[in-house]
């Protein structure tokens, strides 16, 4: 991927495969859900549709993290915060859509505000009834937070584990703040009991299918965008920063600008993932800010393989599918499995499943004696561990 225009990003082999598989799977699920009658063995339940939608949101979140971690070497342990902020922005809109159908029947105030005896909407809820405004908010809030945070952190050259730890502190502080009733986001319970989105009931199968398709489109667009960026000149600089920040700086690049820009973009993508996630699961609460969530997200990317984008997607879907299966049959084993996964991946699969697949493929190719002229993978994108800042 030496070229860097939008056309190549859209049409190169990886992008074609990725978008093809993504839309193929989504189309299959949607058709099986909508066209096959419910009593048939081939029918896919609405639960599965929503589950797939949820996985795709996680995949988008993982891709956002891969952009900063895989390509720029910034291990953010607080990306769940951006995801949750996007989710809260969407949750506010959905809360306002309930209107007077809430328990207390107040046409303006959400139930929890009536319950807290608030008389009017806080200023930061103004405008939340408008969908276009909410769309702006979804990108703006996480983006702005990331921008301010990143501007402070990168300018003073906070790197490596220090940055990881303060991002973790950031999401922890936000979690504590959102647990407070006084903040005006429903406290402990968060925002829930949503009724409809843009006038369509969230209980309808067709709305769920539409949300799934919207998520898939968002994921595909994000993939193309990230691919375009990482393939561009700027992407090369970002990777140079990852592999040797001081060297990149000595060559005259303002490394903090590149880092800030990629970090902010990644936060916006995470916010969009959160916004798509909330209408599908029907709740957003401060638990989404918990440091554990953010760190779990890191393992999705690590399992899939860093700096490939599609690796993050594969990792997010596989780990979450595992989680669904495990918590269903033996809940107490899930944390053992997750913990073991952390250790095993870092020790034995430093490049994740994608790296493993590459190794296997290369060995096969060597055995069969063919030349590797058509090398289409992103081996050159792999971070070299020894170059990470200590």
């Amino acid at each position: 991927m030496r070229h860097s225009d939008l056309k190549t990003a859209l049409t190169d082999r990886a992008a074609r495969w990725f978008i093809g598989i993504l839309f193929g799977a989504v189309a299959l699920v949607v058709l099986l859900n909508q066209l096959i009658p419910a009593d048939s063995g081939l029918h896919v339940s609405s639960y599965t549709v929503t589950l797939l939608g949820k996985y795709l949101c996680y995949a988008l979140l993982a891709m956002a993290l891969d952009l900063v971690w895989g390509y720029c070497g910034i291990l953010s342990l607080g990306h769940g915060a951006f995801f949750a902020l996007g989710g809260y922005a969407m949750g506010m809109y959905l809360m306002r859509q309930i209107g007077d159908r809430g328990v207390y029947g107040n046409p303006v105030l959400p139930d929890f505000m009536v319950f807290l005896n608030w008389q009017e909407l806080p200023w930061y809820w103004l405008g939340s009834h408008s969908f276009p405004f909410t769309m702006v908010l979804i990108a703006l809030v996480p983006g702005l937070l990331a921008f301010v945070f990143g501007w402070l952190a990168f300018r003073s050259r906070v790197t490596g584990v220090y940055l990881s730890i303060i991002t973790q502190a950031l999401t922890y502080a936000l979690m504590l703040a959102f647990f407070r009733n006084e903040l005006g986001f429903g406290g402990n319970n968060g925002l829930t009991d949503f009724k409809d989105i843009l006038g369509f009931s969230l209980r309808e199968d067709s709305t769920r299918v539409a949300l799934l398709i919207a998520t898939a489109i968002a994921l595909a667009l994000a993939f193309v965008l990230c691919r375009y960026i990482t393939g561009s000149r700027m992407g090369r600089v970002v990777m140079a920063v990852r592999d040797g920040e001081s060297r990149a700086r000595f060559l005259g690049y303002r490394t903090e600008h590149y880092k800030l820009w990629i970090f902010t973009l990644s936060a916006v993508l995470a916010g969009i993932a959160g916004a798509l996630y909330v209408p599908q699961v029907g709740i957003i609460n401060p638990g989404e800010f918990s440091p554990l969530n953010s760190i779990e997200l890191v393992v999705w990317v690590a399992v899939g393989g860093r700096a490939t984008l599609y690796g993050a997607v594969i990792g997010a879907i596989l780990v979450n599918y595992g989680k669904t299966v495990f918590t269903g049959i033996m809940p107490e084993a899930w944390l053992f499995a997750l913990g073991g996964l952390f250790v095993a991946v870092t020790l034995f699969l430093p490049r994740g499943l994608v790296g493993l697949a590459d190794n296997v493929r290369q060995r096969l190719r060597k055995n069969s004696g063919t030349s590797n002229g058509s090398k289409g993978t992103d081996n050159d994108n792999q971070p070299e561990a020894s170059h990470e800042p200590a």
């Binding site: 906070v158 303060i166 502080a173 504590l176």
Partner: protein, 538 residues
Amino acid sequence: MLRVFALALALLCLTSVAQAESPATEPTTTIEEVLQHLRSRSFDDKAAAIDALAHSGHPRADALLKALQDRRLLLDRANDRIVLGERADGGWRLHDPLSEADLGTVESRAAAPITINNRLRRQIENLQAAVGLNNPDAAQRRAAATSLIGTKDPDLLAALRERRAREDNTSVAAAIDTTLNTAALYSEDSDLNTRLNAIEALSGSLEPTVRNALRSRLDSYAPSERKAVETALKRIDARTARYQTADTLFFGLSLGSVLLLAAIGLAITFGVMGVINMAHGELIMLGAYTTFVVQQVFPQGHEWSLLVAIPAAFLISGFVGVLIERFVIRYLYGRPLETLLATFGISLILQQAVRVIFSPLNRSVVTPEWMSGAWQINPVFSLTFNRLYIIAFALTVFLGLLLVLKKTRLGLQVRAVSQNRQTARGLGIRSDRINALTFGLGSGIAGVAGVALAQLTNVGPNLGQAYIIDSFMVVVFGGVGNLWGTLTAAFSLGIANKLLEPVSGAVLAKIFVLVFIILFIQRKPRGLFPQRGRAAEE
């Protein structure tokens, strides 16, 4: 009324006999009679019986009055007698009132506590205080005088005056003066000058009752008295505020010592070795569970089991730490982000293991007797013993660690390896072994911290998670690789947290501190006391 009179007569005989003969054996028959009068329905009869009991001079009198106060003095309906008793699985376990011999258990309806009203309660308290005034122990006398502050009972005041004349202990005399002065404020017929003197004398007192008595004089007709009361109240408030600040500082120090304990192991593994150990909190948790297990093993040994728990926790957490180092971290040196992930995985496994073994519910650890209670310095300021011990313990562990690092051969080798691994190896230090030992030392100290934390909080699978972010904040804030920095950071963060709490509430205070640290790290990425020299330049 006749009965009261007869009782008084019996009492008279009783006391004279008690004074003539040995007091322990002779009056037992008669005190039972006194107790029988408590069966009466009339509160007047009961009041007389209480008086008689208090003045009997019987060695059990005090204990029986206390039992009556606590509703532990029961009427045994089957035998129509007064017994001691406590609740035991839905019924009562009865004891003889004098010998405390076990009388077996009865069902709930077979016995009922002797009821007393507020008047009787007050009477008992006053009687206990009046008896206490003549206690040979000065501390008891002072406590009795203090407990009488606010009383208007002329008999008690007379007793106080009488004691004051004979009292030669200055602190007891001062306490009696306070009580008498307060009474002067309440008295209707005292003259203005007496009251002004009383107000002047009371103006430094911290007793809440004194403050109320002074406030009751705020509507006095005499302007001079009103003015005096206002000044006195102002002085009292100023003094109270000073002690409250001291209280906040003490709580801050105590929180700081908890942070120090939690962070100090991390200061070794993260600070000296540069290993990000996200499982540090779980090593603390292991220490806390070790305390719990040790207590289960020695059910009778709550007083001394801590002495077993501390080394046991050190060994167990240290051992787990060495295992982690040997099997995981060893392969990840120089890759801090991977280390972070792997140790986080280990922390999940340890947490879940504890959930499976000990159940997800919190376990409680019994606090030994010598750690409970408080050192009451004055009515608004007291230092609880468990917090005092934890401050002392944290400082001891800190100094111990400092000595190990600065004065022993191991410490020298640890510092050498952390400064420059290659050179250290070149000089013949087995860096592998040193790494394992250092990590074990840091982990062991985390375990010891767990023993201390088990005394303050619930022991549960999430114990470690609650401290991990705080610990990292402390180490990073203090400056990585600097033990003194960790100490300063722990105490300053603890105190800042407690100073903010009354203003903003506990959660906001924590958020403020976190935001402050995040901003601080932006300004000084290497903490308060950055390491100097080549090690810092990597």
